[in-house]
């Protein structure tokens, strides 16, 4: 095996050791986050009453921009029946940056700020645009990433 191929393989193996995302069937864990005005809260506050859609998001995330229309459509369609939460990851962002962005753009649901990375750790988030849907008992029924996710189908799973 050539040196280039060996090195490339080392690269692939090293990458595979990264975060994979929390598994479907697990109970959505609690994680300390803050609101955009700095009040402490926990993701679990948004779980367990209705199905919940949680997106891990950043302003710089291209996939999140792609996913936004589908999330909006679902938030409109399931208004009052499903809780939508956007968790802004604290990478190159401050709560003030996110608050300004949220004022100027329509972001689906409640926007929280993961200032310490606790939520990213608890949910083993592999990347921004990582979406997970929990049913009304807080059990995860869907996880996925990227800008082309079928949000409506994911929400229907939680409503079944």
């Amino acid at each position: 095996m050539g040196i280039r191929r060996t090195l490339a393989l080392i690269g692939l193996v090293a990458n595979a050791a990264g975060a994979q995302g929390i598994a479907v069937g697990h109970h959505a864990p609690s994680a300390a986050v803050t609101t955009l005005d700095g009040k402490a809260t926990d993701i679990k506050e948004f779980l367990g009453r209705t199905p919940t859609v949680i997106e891990f998001w950043a302003r710089w995330c291209g996939n999140c921009r792609e996913l936004a229309p589908a999330l909006h459509a679902a938030a409109e369609k399931y208004r009052g029946r499903v809780t939508f939460v956007t968790v802004a990851v604290a990478v190159d962002e401050t709560p003030a940056d996110v608050a300004t962005f949220v004022r100027e753009h329509d972001i689906a649901g409640t926007v929280l700020f993961d200032g310490t990375g606790a939520a990213v750790d608890a949910y083993d988030v592999p990347g921004t645009s990582y979406l997970l849907v929990a049913d009304r008992h807080g059990n995860i029924v869907y996880t996925g990433g990227g800008g082309a996710q079928d949000v409506d189908a994911a929400v229907r799973k939680a409503l079944e």
Binding site: I3, R4, L7, A8, I10, G11, L12, A14, N15, G18, A19, F56, A58, R59, W60, C61, G62, N63, V89, A90, V91, D92, F101, E104, G117, V120, D121, V125, P126, G127, T128, S129, Y130, G145, G146
Partner: protein, 504 residues
């Protein structure tokens, strides 16, 4: 109806449409050529369309923000790129459209400048000469601000030549040039000198006209400096160059390349001597014709604009010394001097009988240019230029970055921030070029602020710093020795590290 003018207009429009089409074809993937400046322009345009502010997608490693205010470049080109992006096209497509539209406008303005004075045939010759100038063609294959700048300079030349008594008109065109490239300060200065040179009743009138011609450019520059200052940046500052001989060598290299593009491989022996002799003869011939036709206003205006821009580039580089004086930088000078030379030639043609010499010189220059352009276009269509090279885009390192780092919830640091932007469309912080104990402490403090990934492109730092700094340049070995970095992925083209302080 004036059929001559109509025919010229129709020909100009047709040639413009042809130029637009050729540029769109020439910049298809793997094009357009991408450079560090391209990342600044395209990133600022994306920032403008998404966040309403002109910020470039990179910052120094110590910066709390991963973006910086646009200051290194004026706002014109990013604003132009943002236009088509508002209709939903990507930054790359938008750049191609802007560059192609600039090419079309340049061709039409060339016809409008030369055609009415010297006739349709000379208008076509001028268009062909500009279109065969290697440096001019090269910048139209890239995502760079030179094409719209060339258009603005030629628009200024047209107004200077056709409406010399209206300084505000060409002053505004000069201000637009300045908002596209800082070397447009030379265009503004040329406008002021041209206005002051025009016949007038008194010295006071001349001075007033000169000031009026300079006013739009000065106002535009001051306004931009205020905007930059308010956003926390600083416009370019000058400092003394430590490499004057290198600067002069680059200047003469770019000039000789304009006089006769060298095919790849011809570097030694008799062929090289013959080419140098031909270029010398061409330069003497051009000088002779230009001096003889100095009374022609197009000749004078174009030489004034070319000298002002070329001189400013040389002086700025001698004072600042951090930009290579390449063919690219001189492409607007070459374009505007092309037009002056063609105007001189067309004027001389009317009374001279030595047409054969002129035709032979044009023919030899044209053949050399066609050969050089064929090689240039071949590279553009097969390999791509610089950051757009397939060898880079398809390399395992940048594939990994595209697939894995685009949405990774970590801050990105790299010695190649332009490729980070082109690959992920994310902002990143630039790693230090040199690293010692103090730099390492500052870097560690920066990396420790949030989860971070360092993407190191092998050989890139060495390729961009001055040779004498190489012994103290940041290298993977030195960084690993000084910082708690854990290798996440290793490729032939570079290394990806996680900062161990934030490992989960």
């Amino acid at each position: 109806m004036n059929w001559g003018a109509t025919k010229q207009s129709l020909t100009g429009l047709t040639m413009g449409a042809l130029a637009f089409g050729l540029v769109m074809l020439g910049t298809r993937p793997p094009g357009p050529g991408l450079y560090g400046d391209s990342a600044g322009y395209m990133g600022a345009a994306e920032s403008l369309t998404r966040h309403g502010s002109l910020r470039v997608p990179f910052a120094p490693y110590v910066s709390a923000d991963s973006t910086s205010p646009l200051a290194q470049w004026p706002p014109g080109f990013p604003v132009l790129i943002a236009g088509p992006m508002l209709s939903g096209v990507s930054a790359t497509t938008s750049v191609r459209l802007v560059v192609a539209a600039s090419a079309a406008a340049t061709v039409i303005l060339t016809m409008l400048l030369i055609g009415p004075t010297f006739g349709l045939a000379w208008g076509l010759v001028a268009t062909l000469v500009v279109g065969l100038t290697a440096s001019v063609v090269a910048v139209h294959l890239d995502a760079l601000s030179e094409p719209p700048f060339i258009t603005a300079v030629i628009a200024t030349l047209l107004l200077m030549a056709t409406r010399p008594q209206r300084p505000l008109g060409y002053g505004i065109a000069g201000a637009i040039a300045l908002l596209l490239r800082y070397v447009g300060l030379g265009v503004v200065a040329a406008c002021a000198v041209w206005a002051a040179q025009q016949p007038a009743a008194s010295l006071g009138v001349r001075i007033r006209r000169g000031l009026l011609a300079a006013a739009p450019g000065v106002l535009a520059y001051v306004a931009w400096a205020v905007v930059v200052s308010k956003s926390g940046g600083t416009v370019r500052r000058l400092h003394f160059d430590h490499y004057p001989m290198l600067t002069l060598r680059q200047f003469f290299g770019a000039t000789l390349s304009w006089l006769g593009p060298d095919p790849v491989g011809v570097t030694v022996g008799a062929a090289r001597f013959a080419r140098a002799a031909l270029k010398g003869a061409l330069l003497v011939g051009i000088g002779w014709v230009v001096i003889r036709e100095w009374d022609n206003h197009i000749v004078r205006a174009s030489v004034l604009l070319g000298a002002a821009c070329g001189g400013l580039l040389l002086v700025a580089e001698l004072l600042q010394g951090n930009v290579e004086l390449s063919d690219r930088m001189f492409s607007p000078v070459h374009a505007v001097l092309d037009l002056g030379i063609i105007a001189a030639l067309a004027s001389w043609w009317q009374w001279s009988r030595r047409h054969t010499i002129a035709l032979a010189a044009l023919g030899i220059w044209g053949l050399a240019s066609v050969r050089a352009l064929a090689a240039l276009v071949h590279v553009a269509r097969t390999d791509g230029f610089y950051h757009a090279r397939l060898e880079v885009v398809e390399s395992p390192l940048w594939r990994w970055v595209r697939d894995s780092a685009t949405s990774l919830p970590v801050a990105l640091y790299s010695n190649d921030v332009a490729d980070i932007y082109f690959t992920t469309h994310r902002p990143s912080r630039a790693m230090p070029w040199i690293v010692d104990a103090d730099t390492a402490r500052a870097l560690e403090s920066a990396l420790g602020r949030q989860p971070s990934l360092v993407i190191w492109a092998a050989g890139y730092t060495e390729s961009v710093i001055f040779p004498e700094l190489r012994p103290i340049a940041a290298t993977p070995e030195r960084l690993e020795a000084l910082l708690p970095l854990r290798r996440r992925a290793v490729f032939p083209e570079g290394i990806v590290w996680e900062y161990a302080g934030h490992l989960r």
